[in-house]
């Protein structure tokens, strides 16, 4: 038995290594989507756009809808100012190094005029540094929400069509203090974005008179939250503020219901994850009564959104989430910039962006802030409702024109 024990050990060791290797994930996949047709005798050069998105791996649930939004926009608008549009999509599988390789490939081999990407903060930052040194093509950051992109890491060549952590978290804090309760527990995923959201949440919550009694950090990939739930239950807060992205978040909300916390403490969610159709399918009526802070929701009433939702449903047969809108608006922004610049030269494109411009988005009219390079946009608080077994979201409060502070506010870091 002793001998086999040793063998067993070796196997466990080898196996653990393999497991780690499998987890780290590598970028083998790459998909190139060349929509171009040979332009014959066209006087204007086509606009070549390269998008580096996380289309496989952990963050695929964010990268894929962005791609769909971009595709939808350019299907509706196949030309910009008489120029043909050529789209290239590359997969970084959530890996910043892979994203940089794809960037080289796109700029050197395909000669793209504009790059879009950054499905997560780490990738957005990696691309940002590269683009900022090259100063050749502008980068449109499609998701990466890290605040420094608007402050210390701001670059003339980098602009964000999504949102910043500060926009979400400070409004979450403000709303929680105003509309839910003064005593809150925070549960957040233990990674960069989680810490950033908590850092931005607390000052604004405290400003409204709130007090955070406990911060619970759950590792990414937690499947069973029961221990954390009893911990929350133990401190009996009025509000529970959560920032847990992706599949972890759906699991948490479901277990929040199972352990009977749903009816006891109001759940405030600050990442607009729960109204995404994919999450909704997984959690069902566990979102009822929960408050979510978001920059977009499909029921939003305006003309652009109505058309957008219809077109998206017709093409993809599902309801759009805010990542689709990020992609759609990225297309809109690029079109507008190229049109106004009348050129594909990087410097000229950037000078248009620096003047500031307004996009007619499904989110409502939004403005690109030339100071922080992040959109000035409304933040909506929505609440989950159940009527006849159907889950829907109702708008309960709108915070208008939320603009990033112009410089790092220097909050205490958590």
């Amino acid at each position: 038995m002793k001998k086999s024990m040793g063998k067993f050990f070796q196997i466990l060791a080898v196996f653990s290594l393999l497991f780690l290797a499998a987890c780290s994930g590598s970028a083998i996949d790459s998909s190139s989507n060349d929509d171009s047709k040979e332009s014959e005798g066209d006087s204007k050069d086509p606009v070549k756009m390269g998008f580096i998105l996380s289309l496989t791996g952990n963050f695929a649930s964010m990268g894929t809808p962005v791609k769909e939004g971009i595709e939808l926009y350019f299907e509706e608008n196949p030309e910009i100012d008489g120029r043909k549009v050529e789209l290239f999509f590359e997969d970084d599988a959530g890996d910043p190094q892979a994203a940089l390789r794809k960037y080289e490939q796109l700029t050197l081999n395909q000669g793209v005029n504009i790059v879009g990407g950054g499905t997560v903060g780490s990738i957005a930052l990696a691309l940002r540094d590269k683009v900022d040194t090259d100063k050749k093509v502008p980068l449109i950051n499609v998701v990466g929400s890290t605040d420094v992109m608007s402050w210390e890491k701001k670059s003339d060549y980098v602009w964000r069509t999504s949102f910043s952590a500060w926009q979400y978290a400070s409004i979450s804090g403000k709303f929680t203090a105003e509309g839910v309760g003064k005593n809150a527990v925070i549960i957040a995923s233990d990674y960069v974005a989680g810490h950033e959201i908590v850092t931005d949440f607390i000052p604004s919550f405290e400003e409204g008179g709130g007090k955070v009694s406990e911060i619970v950090w759950a590792p990414l990939g937690t499947s069973d939250f029961s221990s954390y739930l009893t911990q929350i239950d133990n401190s009996k807060p009025e509000a529970v503020f959560m920032f847990i992205p992706g599949a972890d978040g759906s699991r948490f909300v479901k277990q929040y219901q199972e352990f009977g916390l749903q009816d006891k403490y109001t759940l405030v969610e600050g990442g607009s994850l729960l109204n995404a159709p994919f999450n909704l399918k997984a959690v069902g009526n566990a979102v009822v009564g929960g408050k979510m802070i978001t920059n977009y929701f499909p029921e939003l009433e305006n003309e652009v959104n109505e058309k957008f939702v219809k077109a998206y449903q017709a093409k993809f047969n599902k309801i759009p989430d805010n990542y689709v809108v990020n992609g759609y608006d990225t297309g809109k922004l690029i079109s507008q910039v190229v049109k106004e610049a009348g050129s594909l030269d990087g410097e000229k494109l950037v000078s248009v962006l620096k003047k500031g411009l307004t996009i007619d988005s499904p989110r409502g009219p939004i403005e690109m802030d030339p100071v922080t390079h992040t959109l000035i946009q409304n933040m909506y608080v929505i609440e989950g409702k159940e009527t006849n077994g159907e889950i829907s979201f109702e708008l309960i409060k709108t915070y208008e024109n939320i603009k990033m502070p112009e410089e790092n506010v220097g909050y205490k870091k958590y």
């Binding site: 038995m1 002793k2 086999s4 024990m5 063998k7 067993f8 050990f9 196997i11 466990l12 196996f15 653990s16 393999l18 497991f19 499998a22 987890c23 496989t56 695929a60 649930s61 619970v216 950090w217 590792p219 499947s223 069973d224 029961s226 221990s227 954390y228 009893t230 911990q231 239950d233 133990n234 992706g246 599949a247 759906s250 699991r251 479901k254 199972e258 352990f259 009977g260 994919f278 997984a282 069902g284």
Partner: protein, 286 residues
Amino acid sequence: MDLFIVNTLSGLTYGMLLFLMASGLSIVFGLMRIINLAHGSFFLFGSYVAYAMVSRGMNFWLALLLATICVTVLAFLLEKFLISRFHGNEASQVLLTLGLIFVIGDISLWIWGGDFLSIPVPSIMDFSFAINESSFPIYRLFVIAIGIACAVLLWYFETKTKVGMIVRAGVDDMEMVGALGFNIRLIFTAVFLFGAALAAIGGVLSGPILGMYPKMEFEILVNSLVIVLIGGLGSWKGAFIGAILIGIIDSFGKIYLPDVSVLLIFVVMVIVLMFKPTGLFGRVES
């Protein structure tokens, strides 16, 4: 106090799911000297199959039964056509079953996609009971009960039935059992399938608690391997105690030592093995 009770119960729930997985792994190893890494796939595949049936409107209990049968059939095919060919050759077996994990994992990914999925809690158990001011889902209590029931069943089989006697003898000396006229092949297959069925039941039961997602089988497998080592190879009793230990440690570790909770079970493993290198219930071979 509430916190303590609820956490203990949570730990037991997770422990019982791990027990269903680890006991099969341990028994199969004890008898056949097969380290079947694909055991994790049985767990995950079981829950995916049950999900497919429940999401099409099938009753949870029927889905549990059918998914278990499905996995047992799969295990039968794998054992008959692949694993049995490499009997006695441990390195090949490990590589083979490791390969099978990836293959079955990719097939699942292909069929069910990479999204997080979960099975709804069966409606008759979709409520919680109160422990003073806290509450605990009744379904999890049911999972604990099933785990204990399986342990009792295993104990009964092992000590009170002839089959159990043969298997016990087989763990000690397989050749001798063969020489006495028992069909070793048949015993091997039966035990292998039994282990797979237990893993599948664990997988289906974990569907409403842990959910399903790609690479989940690795997570559960690593924990199960640790349990088998702590408990002692080839002993379901060891797996039972080990699983409870790991479940409880995991549950309390998350609260009291959140920074190191991921490592904690390995620390316990090292400590146990330092004092008892054969595991808690492992025997020293003469």
